[in-house]
């Protein structure tokens, strides 16, 4: 019972964060709402027995990515005056309809599908993740590291003042 209350609280936190992240006019508030949402997702990871991921989510997403976004906002827009120009009503409506349809479609697909089930017990440990990263999934692992390298170099090149 207690678990459910906490769970719904976390879900509400996540979805509220997500909603605020896309709907507030001020980009800075959006970024802060994103932090809230990401925190909720990290909590959900704990519910899913993946504590390591939850930590990573907080460190990388909140600690690095969100901060980078906030930096970008600071760099590109004088913070407080930047309330966006009024939204195009039609565009908002269109986006809403598409998003609603998308959710409806996903919901319906979810209902119609029976997912394969396996036991929830198993080795969730960091040890197992590390072993898998350097054995079975070593190729994607290396590919991702290469992508990261290229991304860093590309970012440096792009942001360089000409």
């Amino acid at each position: 019972m207690m678990e459910n209350i906490v769970f719904f609280g976390v879900v509400a936190l996540t979805l509220l964060g997500a909603f605020l992240a896309v709907s507030l006019r001020n980009v800075f508030y959006n970024a802060l709402a994103l932090v809230l949402c990401l925190f909720g997702v990290a909590c959900l990871f704990i519910f899913l027995n993946s504590e390591f991921l939850a930590v990573m989510e907080v460190i990388v997403y909140i600690g690095a990515i969100s901060i980078a976004i906030i930096f970008a906002i600071m760099l590109s827009t004088p913070m407080l005056q930047k309330t966006e120009a009024p939204q195009d009503r039609l565009k908002t409506l269109r986006s809403f309809v598409i998003a609603a349809l998308l959710f409806g479609g996903l919901f319906k697909a979810l209902q119609k599908t029976t997912w394969p089930a396996a036991g929830v017990d198993g080795d969730y440990s960091l040890h197992a993740i590390g072993r898998l990263l350097l054995t079975g999934q070593v190729l994607p692992f290396e590919a991702v590291s290469l992508v990261l390298l290229v991304a860093i170099m590309g970012a440096l090149l792009l942001a360089e003042k000409k």
Binding site: K91, R94, S95, I98, L102, G105, A109, K112
Partner: protein
């Protein structure tokens, strides 16, 4: 050397000469004539070798054939029992083209030799000798080929070289026009030839001369079809051999250098039509209708151009019309069913007519005019070599025994008398009379005139003198002896008398009119009679073509132009492009540069697809 080697030598030596002359560096292109002559001498010797090896038709025919294409190995045409369609390439040698190949290569050599004299001041001699060699290559290919398609290929090549050589002095407007006229008229005629070949191949399945036999053709094809095919192919002959109504290009072709006229437009290329008639004789003789048409066309041509030759002042035009007329006689002989007599006249005519042309070239080169009265005025009769050879050639042309022309023309008269009917015999007799008349007229005008402003010959080196005289003498000798080589050599007393009477009558008439050429010229200028006018306008043939092209053709062209502009261009082409443009404008609104619009489309369509699967 085997026959095949000789064939290759004859065929490729001129081509090699052509290619060598093309790649010759500019600094040493003076040797171009030597190259041309050397290789054409090689070809001539090879063909002489060939003709000695097969003298009296021993071991003939020889065929080297290689299958080239199997077009279809089943019957593609209903009701025609042709099991397969194959095309081959190869050489075929029989008595007919043994004669022809010897003739082509020897005359080609003599003409190149004479050209050395005639063209020795022309700056673009390498081009000239290159074209001449290329012509020899094409002509030998035409003569040696063993099937109609290969013949057609070389037929077009000789047409091309003819065009190039008529227009050799292309900076002269009249030469360029004449070359174009010859080319266009020949293409028109060759269209018929080509259609005929296609039809024959469709219905008969093979084009090899060895298989085109009258019986085989009659077994497969009906009389109407055979007539159609024969007439279509004869259409090409009419173009190449300058038969009515396609004869108009030949007199204009005299704009080319005179040795070219001697080689191409009298001895070899224009004779190719007659040669083809004889070569594929079974194709024509399989239908008597075709033969009758051939006979009539030949008669019209022979008579018409003989009358025209009688009033010309330009020495080359006289000879050109005479050529057309003689070709008409050959065509008549073949139309009457005797390919041998036609070919015999072809061979004798080739020698004496090329002699005559070279002689006229000798006159023209020395006196710088084409007009016979002016040649006479500038001292034509003092040029003994040329005058003697002119007399030789003219005697042969008019059919005086024992010159070559006598035998062959006699044979034609005999054939026409026995197989052509009285009407065509009468035409031939009239043509012979006219031939004698214009021959003697030409001779008398030059030989009997008083010399006015004499032109002294430039000092000529010994080489030039030899290259002038040697071909003339050789051809004169040949035009004397070829008469005795005919297979059907015999004398018919009655015909002999007829011929002699005709020649004497023609000569007498010419003498009575032209014993005083200056007076005759004055009389000629004064004469504006009706018949004379018709002759002056060449029976209005050029006017008819003019009318056809300028009035009918242009009207048609204008109409087609309007149609093209209104229907094709604006309605079809432009509307197509406009509608594409309109569509493009509509579609390009999608490409509005707004990132989120693209995304909306993508996600929206993606959702639709997801819903389709749900």
């Amino acid at each position: 050397m085997t026959d095949l080697h000789l064939f290759w030598v004859i065929q490729l030596a001129p081509l090699l000469a052509f290619l060598l002359i093309q790649v010759l560096p500019k600094t040493i292109n003076k040797v171009a004539p030597a190259i041309g002559m050397a290789f054409s001498l090689t070809a001539a010797l090879a063909s002489l070798n060939l003709s000695f090896a097969h003298s009296q038709g021993a071991g003939l025919p020889v065929e080297f054939s290689r299958q080239w294409l199997v077009v279809a190995d089943y019957a593609v045409w209903p009701n025609i029992p042709v099991p397969h369609y194959t095309l081959s390439v190869g050489f075929l040698l029989d008595p007919l083209n043994l004669l022809m190949i010897t003739l082509v290569t020897t005359i080609s050599f003599f003409v190149q030799l004479f050209s050395f004299y005639y063209m020795n001041e022309d700056p673009s001699r390498p081009r000239y000798f290159g074209f001449l060699s290329f012509f020899s290559f094409s002509m030998t290919g035409l003569v040696l080929s063993n099937n109609l398609l290969q013949t057609f290929l070389f037929w077009e090549l000789v047409g091309l070289t003819s065009y190039l050589l008529i227009g050799f002095w292309f900076e002269k407007k009249s030469a360029a026009t004449a070359a174009r006229k010859a080319f266009v008229i020949n293409r028109l005629a060759d269209l018929g030839f080509y259609l005929g070949i296609i039809l024959l191949f469709l219905l008969f399945g093979t084009l090899g001369f060895a298989t085109l036999k009258a019986d085989a053709l009659r077994n497969v094809l009906g009389h109407g079809t055979l007539t159609l095919i024969g007439l279509l192919i004869f259409c090409g002959v009419m173009g190449k051999s300058a038969q009515f109504p396609f004869h108009v290009w030949l007199p204009d072709a005299m704009e080319g250098p005179t040795p070219v006229s001697a080689l191409i437009h009298s001895a070899t290329m224009v004779a190719a039509g007659v040669f083809l008639l004889a070569r594929a004789f079974d194709l024509f003789s399989a239908s008597h209708t075709t033969l009758l048409v051939i006979l009539s066309i030949g008669a019209i041509t022979a008579l018409m151009s003989a009358t025209l030759a009688a009033i010309q002042r330009d020495i080359k035009r006289i000879l050109a019309y005479s050529t057309v007329s003689q070709l008409g006689l050959m065509v008549m002989a073949i139309g009457a069913g005797s390919a041998e007599s036609g070919m015999f006249h072809l061979s004798t005519h080739a020698y004496f007519k090329s002699l005559l042309f070279l002689t006229s070239g000798a006159f023209i080169h020395r006196f710088h005019t084409n007009d016979i009265w002016e040649i006479a005025d500038r001292g034509g009769k003092k040029d003994a070599v040329a005058l003697g050879c002119l007399a030789f050639g003219l005697l042969s042309l008019s059919g005086v025994p024992p010159f070559a022309g006598f035998f062959s023309k006699d044979l034609i008269l005999e054939v026409l008398k026995h197989h052509g009917g009285i009407f065509f015999y009468g035409v031939a007799v009239l043509v012979s009379f006219l031939t004698a008349y214009y021959s003697f007229r030409l001779f008398f005008v030059i030989a009997l005139s008083k010399i006015g402003h004499e032109v002294r010959a430039h000092h000529e080196s010994l080489t030039l003198k030899i290259s002038r005289a040697l071909p003339l003498f050789s051809l004169a000798a040949l035009s004397l002896i070829t008469g005795f080589t005919g297979h059907a050599f015999h004398l018919n007393m009655e015909l002999l008398i007829t011929t002699v009477i005709l020649v004497v009558a023609g000569g007498a008439l010419a003498y009575s009119q032209f014993k005083d050429p200056a007076a005759a010229e004055a009389a000629l200028r004064g004469n504006q009679g009706f018949i004379f006018k018709i002759l002056e306008r060449k029976f209005f043939m050029d006017d008819a073509y003019d009318f056809l092209v300028k009035k009918v053709g242009l009207a048609l062209g204008r109409w087609l132009n309007a149609f093209d502009r209104a229907v094709i261009n604006s309605l079809m082409v432009n509307q197509t492009s406009f509608s594409v443009m309109r569509l493009g404008r509509v579609v390009s609104r999608l490409q509005n540069g707004l990132l989120q619009d693209y995304l909306a489309w993508a996600v929206g369509i993606g959702i639709l697809i997801v819903f389709c699967f749900l």
